[in-house]
């Protein structure tokens, strides 16, 4: 897996799925349309500011609230390469793993990172380098079971392979 490099968009605690993608836009499954409204109710400038590869860093309980997979889908389609947080809400976490949006848990990295910092994230090792502050961190490793889903590229491909094997 490659090293992800991007500039940080920084958010606080309990960023919920209603602000990541407001329900008023959930009358479509079109990923590009969803991405156009990503983070709209918490940060109206996000979609104008975000560049491919950028990284979202947040505090506790990122993605709490509804089960809408449109939330990680909007973030991924907006060009965000990964999300780093102190902790994730569980449905958001599994949705992100399932659709192939990398999510890393590192309380230290999340708390010390500031908006606009440049990060380099090695998904294979979980190493997070803050090149702006010249600091590095180690994210929590994924359990072995989840590594299989991640290695397959998400749950859809994982399930397809399982079904093909009978």
């Amino acid at each position: 897996m490659s090293v992800l490099r991007g500039r940080v968009h920084r958010y606080g605690d309990h960023v919920n799925t209603d602000v990541i993608i407001p329900a008023r836009y959930l009358n479509t499954s079109d990923a590009a349309e969803l991405a156009a409204h990503c983070m709209e109710d918490i940060d109206q400038e996000f979609v104008k500011r975000v560049k491919p590869g950028d990284i979202i860093v947040a505090d506790e309980n990122f993605g709490c609230g509804s089960s809408r997979e449109q939330a990680p889908l909007a973030i991924k389609t907006a060009g965000v390469s990964c999300v780093i947080a102190v902790s994730f809400a569980r449905i958001f976490f599994r949705n992100a793993i399932n659709i192939g949006l990398p999510v890393l848990v590192s309380a230290e990295a999340a708390r010390e990172t500031r908006a606009g910092d440049e990060l380099a994230v090695d998904l294979a090792t979980g190493r997070i380098e803050n090149t702006t502050q010249n600091r590095s961190y180690q994210a929590e490793p994924f359990p072995e079971f989840l590594q299989e889903i991640i290695a397959a590229g998400g749950l859809t491909e994982y399930t397809k392979q399982r079904l093909a094997q009978g």
């Binding site: 959930l26 499954s29 109710d41 309980n61 997979e69 989840l146 399930t159």
Partner: protein
């Protein structure tokens, strides 16, 4: 083992499971709605699965943006309808017969003690009230479960929530759960089980239990659950005659922590914007004027909730500045509302009485708020923009407070009514 561990062990073919362990669980029932199912159907096709593993275990409900609010929602429902027909699904509910999913499924007898249920909707945890393991997942999870009949789950540690004492007048399941979330916080049970027990829970009717388990997710919990008892049996007998196998927690089951709640002290609660954990006694929020009151949703749209609201609204008119929207959660509740004369009470009071829909709860339709407006609602979330404009506000409460507030035009308890 706890009830949650026992259900997950049984559904993954193991004698024992432990918190933290990953299991592939056989799923008894899986659920999707008009927001989550279209995405699941798309992923299901990419899996080249062909047919669903078991067409009797898949439930699709058109409840969020229905009756179709615009062309795009109509298209989403069409995707779901065509899939349900092509797959010959046994459980598909469309407008007219559809109700808010988490009120509808228990009423239809589709969820039972000891079962393992997943749903592409975060409030799937509602079914813990009947002693089932039930948790919310995403659309791709639903797709994979439709294809294989199984879902990956990590066994959660359980928090034992012990409720003691007699409830004050008007205080119900909603007040207990808002108070609980206020105590432990919106991430207080992250990745964990909230097992509700104690004498107060034993005395709580099923409607209140469903309300409590419904909002377990608002504390970050994977599931909320109540050990089946006489009340569970009474409820199950009233909705189905099919067999099921109840399980209960062992006396020596291990819990990550135990929280004791003295219910005799709990007053009517309201959760202030913009997090459900901002729970306060209603008397501390009396100065807050409101523009709208919403009574309904998967949290409080059952007949018992509407009876409480009608008791307060009978012979009264709502405040001239307030819009009251009452939404029976299912067609059966709607019919009962008419038969018992509650519909007349609501209409006489000046309320709008709607067909079943999730509608305003998620700011979808049927009661969206303008900039700066405030609503008291019996729904489950008060996040920024949840019911409409990002600068509107939602105050969460039970049906008694929502009804009394509609009359007085400000957040109020029924005891304040003249």
């Amino acid at each position: 083992m706890t009830i949650t561990e026992k259900i997950l062990a049984r559904h993954s073919g193991q004698a024992e499971v432990h918190p933290g362990q990953f299991v592939m669980a056989r799923v008894d029932l899986m659920l999707g709605n008009d927001i989550t199912a279209p995405l699941a159907i798309e992923e299901f096709r990419k899996m080249s699965a062909g047919q669903v593993a078991d067409r009797s275990r898949v439930v699709l409900v058109a409840d969020h943006y229905t009756p179709n609010k615009d062309i795009k929602s109509a298209e989403q429902c069409r995707v779901m309808r065509e899939f349900a027909l092509a797959q010959r699904l046994e459980h598909f509910w469309d407008t007219g017969r559809a109700g808010v999913e988490h009120a509808l499924l228990p009423e239809e007898g589709l969820v039972a003690p000891g079962e393992c249920i997943i749903g592409a909707d975060s409030h799937t945890c509602t079914y813990g009230a009947v002693g089932a393991f039930a948790t919310g997942v995403g659309s791709t999870d639903l797709a994979a479960t439709m294809a294989t009949g199984e879902c990956w789950l990590r066994v959660p540690p359980s928090i034992k929530m012990v409720y003691r004492g007699k409830l004050k007048p008007w205080v119900g399941g909603k007040d207990l759960i808002l108070y609980t979330i206020g105590q432990i916080g919106v991430s207080g049970a992250l990745y964990q089980t909230l097992e509700f027990c104690g004498e107060t829970i034993e005395a709580l009717p099923m409607s209140g239990r469903l309300t409590m388990c419904n909002m377990a997710i608002e504390a970050g919990a994977k599931n909320g659950i109540i050990n089946p008892d006489a009340e569970t049996e009474r409820f199950m007998k009233s909705v189905t005659s099919r067999p099921y196998t109840p399980v209960t927690s062992d006396p020596d089951a291990e819990y990550i922590r135990t929280v004791e709640v003295d219910c005799a002290q709990i007053e009517l609660q309201v959760s202030l914007p913009h997090l459900p954990e901002n729970a306060r006694p209603v008397r501390e929020a009396r100065d807050i004027t409101i523009d709208q009151s919403v009574i309904g949703s998967c949290t409080n749209g059952r007949i018992e909730d509407l009876r409480v609201a009608a008791e307060i609204l009978k012979g009264r008119k709502i405040h001239p500045r307030v819009r009251l929207i009452v939404i029976p959660a299912t067609p059966r509740v709607h019919m009962q509302t008419i038969k018992e004369g509650l519909a007349e009470v609501f209409l006489e009071a000046g309320a709008a009485l709607s067909a079943p829909t999730c509608g305003p709860c998620l700011g979808g339709h049927m009661g969206v708020l303008a900039r700066g407006e405030r609503a008291v609602a019996t729904t489950n979330r008060n996040f920024v923009g949840r019911m409409g404009h990002p600068e509107s506000e939602v105050y969460l409460a039970g049906p008694a407070v929502a009804a009394a507030s509609a009359v007085l035009g400000r957040i109020a308890s029924p005891e304040e009514l003249p």
